[in-house]
């Protein structure tokens, strides 16, 4: 099976002891959840997948994406998107510029902008293109971040406690949106969370660490 995101015998140590071991495959459109309290190395694993592992750690094993070994590729060539719990919208860009930043280069300026505007209205944020990201509510910011990742056309999606900052109502709403859009695009999703409800809602395989 070559489709999806495969972690092949991944072992990460911090020089003295093992931090995390992972060996699994996430099929396109499926969600794999890694559960556990903070400090068990969940985010470390995501850093390894995005190619931004801190040099204090050493890792062995491979990351395969749709059959391609991306282990030694730099982050910007991996096509792996990530969402964090905090708003990481670039504060100096408008909402529209944030979205355009993630889009593939090329094309006419007007066409790119039309794509941005259309995408915004699709998730109910019509007319938000020129807005200052700092003026968005938590739910709006979460939706813009999701949209930005999707517009960059990733081949896999990582969620790092992506919903834990949202209040209960928004949380369900955004979570459903993320899972649906990922499934529509056939993206393998690797989610780390310490929240059991997130894990249940994802519906996929759950690995529990640190117990």
């Amino acid at each position: 099976m070559s489709e999806g995101l495969k972690l092949d015998a991944v072992r990460i140590t911090d020089g003295r002891q093992m931090v995390i071991v992972a060996d699994c495959t996430i099929a396109p459109g499926a969600v794999m959840t890694i559960m556990g309290p903070s400090g068990v190395g969940k985010s470390t694993l995501l850093a390894f997948v995005t190619g931004t592992l801190n040099r204090a750690f050493t890792a062995t094993g491979r990351v395969l994406l749709d059959g391609e070994d991306i282990t030694s590729l730099p982050p910007h060539r991996r096509h792996v998107g990530i969402l964090y719990q905090d708003d990481i919208l670039f504060p100096h860009m408008s909402v529209g510029q944030n979205l355009a930043f993630g889009m593939e280069r090329g094309g006419k300026r007007a066409d790119r902008w039309a794509t941005v505007v259309a995408a915004l209205s699709e998730i109910g944020l019509e007319g938000f293109a020129h807005r200052d990201p700092a003026t968005l509510s938590g739910g709006q910011a979460a939706r813009v971040q999701l949209l930005r990742v999707l517009l960059s056309q990733p081949r896999a999606l990582l969620l790092d406690e992506a919903f834990s900052r949202l209040d209960t109502n928004r949380r369900t709403q955004i979570r459903t949106l993320v899972f649906n859009m990922a499934r529509d695009r056939n993206l393998p999703v690797l989610m780390v969370t310490h929240d059991a409800e997130d894990a249940r809602a994802a519906g996929g395989h759950i690995i529990t660490l640190g117990e």
């Binding site: 931004t52 040099r55 730099p74 096509h79 964090y84 905090d86 504060p91 100096h92 990742v149």
Partner: protein, 558 residues
């Protein structure tokens, strides 16, 4: 490419210092082929020790340097201990921060205009209080003990140390420590001194050393406020360097080495003092006094802080009043009339000097910024952060006295046939601008949330695109502040401009200091104000530009 930037930076910063010390060592041993002198001989060293003023010059350097450092540190410690976190403290901080950028020479002139026998203070108090109807025959400025010079130094070093202390406070959990001490029954000042100060001092130790080394070897302030017969060792070295008799350069080189030894010795004694003080402090801590003297210390601290700030503000105001004064007879508190004539007369000259000043400052700061950004980006990408040893290297050009290595650097430049002038001056300024730009920008750069880089990277942005399109714009404010700091440092440089420029690079600072001996207060007022404005302008831009560029971006407002 980027990997090599830290090494290049190190060479650019430390290279001139090492070369300059080498360039002092050889002539000190009688060898200066450029002047037709060949060694080795101990003639120069003997001549140095035969100079009748040596003992007093040495004593002066040590006493003014140590006293200025102790006083500045004392004021900063008492003000912070008694008042940090209060509205008064915030106000004082806001007044002192811009004073930091006022060039030493301008502050020194202002202080001179204030405290001289015919200065503003004497005029304000005469004749109703003092009975003077002409300036009293007192040696207030250029006093043999160097007290005026010490005062001039203190007004500038207090804002510097205060700013360093503020930066340190953020890292030592002051609130928590202080709260714990207070719940144990300690009064504010005592609690701060016993629980916060030891941690703060560890952070500001290097800046304190810089103040000590600087104060012991300062030239421009000493030429304006310091005694003349004999002057401090640094001023005498510069005099020897300018002597038409080239063999005096050998004596200057020997003096430069003595200056270095003096500063190293003083730093050593200061370190011993620290150990002794820490020992006494531990006894004091164990004794458990809760702070009976607190009210006195608190009031005393704020009075000294306000005095220091007021003195500088009044000094700057004095420069301004002189620059627009018509006839101003003693003991009138104000001139009989105001006029723009002084500005008309000296304005064109200052503009020419201002152009040179900005050219040198802009080039030095631009180079420094490129190197510092390169170092910080290399640090970010490799994940290796600056070690304590690296920090010492950064402080090295600020710890080695300018008079110890700049004369040697000039000798070296002349002996290899390199021309003195603007280019070498820019490189010499770079030695001092670099550390300040690095120190100013480093913390904000490292405090930037690295997840921004991860997100941008996973969106497909290559590292340089992240650098240009995400990190630089987000850090515009601290970058421009660092540029302003670098510009202010360059604008204020006297000795490197004079020595490495061979007297041919005329900046606002060299022109202003050159006016010192003439005593034309109106000309000095105009030049010093222009010098101050040149240092302040970049700070104003560093506030204005981001405010305008990000006026619609709330996430980047302070």
């Amino acid at each position: 490419m980027l990997r090599h930037v830290p090494l290049v930076t190190l060479v650019v910063m430390i290279g001139p210092v090492v070369a300059g010390l080498w360039g002092a060592l050889i002539p000190a041993l009688g060898h200066l082929p450029g002047a037709g002198l060949t060694g080795p001989s101990f003639e120069a060293i003997r001549a140095l020790f035969d100079w009748p003023g040596l003992e007093r010059a040495l004593r002066l350097s040590v006493s003014t340097g140590v006293l200025a450092t102790v006083l500045s540190l004392l004021i900063v410690v008492l003000v912070t201990a008694g008042w940090s976190g209060t509205r008064t403290f915030a106000l004082l901080q806001r007044v002192l921060a811009p004073i930091l950028s006022v060039p030493h020479a301008a502050a020194a002139f202002g202080v001179a205009f204030l405290i001289a026998p015919s200065g503003w203070l004497a005029r304000l108090a005469s004749p109703w209080l003092t009975g003077w109807d002409r300036p009293p025959d007192l040696l207030i400025i250029q006093d043999p003990a160097g007290l005026a010079m010490t005062a001039g130094l203190v007004t500038k070093e207090v804002p510097f140390l205060l700013l360093m202390t503020l930066a340190a406070l953020g890292q030592v959990q002051q609130e928590q420590r202080l709260k714990t001490a207070r719940t144990l029954g300690y009064d504010r000042v005592t609690g701060w001194l016993k629980c916060v100060f030891p941690a703060v001092y560890r952070q500001i130790r290097l800046p304190v050393y810089v103040v000590l080394a600087y104060s012991m070897s300062v030239v421009d302030v000493a030429m304006i406020l310091g005694p003349t017969r004999p002057p401090s060792l640094s001023v005498q070295i510069v005099k020897w360097m300018g002597d038409p008799d080239l063999s005096m350069r050998l004596v200057a080189a020997a003096g430069a080495l003595l200056q270095l030894a003096l500063v190293i010795g003083a730093l050593g004694f200061w370190r011993l003092g620290e150990i002794g003080f820490a020992w006494l402090g531990r006894i004091w801590i164990e004794a458990g006094q809760r702070g009976g003297l607190d009210p006195v210390l608190r009031i005393g601290g704020i009075c000294m802080g306000i005095l220091s700030a007021m003195a500088t503000l009044l000094a700057l105001l004095g420069l301004f009043v002189w620059s627009i004064s018509g006839f101003w007879g003693f003991p009138n508190a104000f001139p009989e009339g105001f006029t723009l004539r002084n500005w008309e007369r000296h304005g064109p000259g200052t503009l020419e000097a201002a152009a040179e000043t900005f050219l040198v400052a802009g080039a030095a700061t631009g180079l420094a910024l490129v190197l510092v950004l390169g170092c910080l980006e290399a640090e970010h990408r490799s994940g290796r952060t600056l070690t304590t040893r690296g920090l010492w290297l950064l402080y090295l050009p600020l710890l080695v006295p300018q008079t110890a290595f700049l004369p040697g650097l000039q000798n070296l430049l002349l002996s290899v046939g390199a021309d003195v002038g603007r280019g070498p001056v820019i490189l010499a300024h770079l030695v001092f601008v670099l550390p300040y730009v690095f120190l100013s920008l480093g913390d904000s750069w490292r405090a930037w949330d690295p997840r921004n880089a991860v997100v941008a990277g996973t969106l497909g942005a290559a590292p340089w695109r992240v650098f240009w399109q995400v990190r630089l714009p987000m850090l515009l404010r601290p970058i421009l502040t660092a540029v302003a700091v670098g510009m202010a440092v360059s604008v204020g440089q006297y000795l490197p401009t004079l020595l490495i420029g061979g007297g041919r690079v005329a900046t606002l600072t060299t022109e202003a200091v050159a006016l010192a001996s003439g005593g034309d207060r109106r000309a000095i007022g105009v030049y010093s104000l222009m010098q101050t404005l040149a240092a302040l302008l970049p700070f104003a831009l560093a506030i204005l530009v981001p405010a305008m560029a990000w006026r619609n971006r709330r996430g980047l407002h302070v």
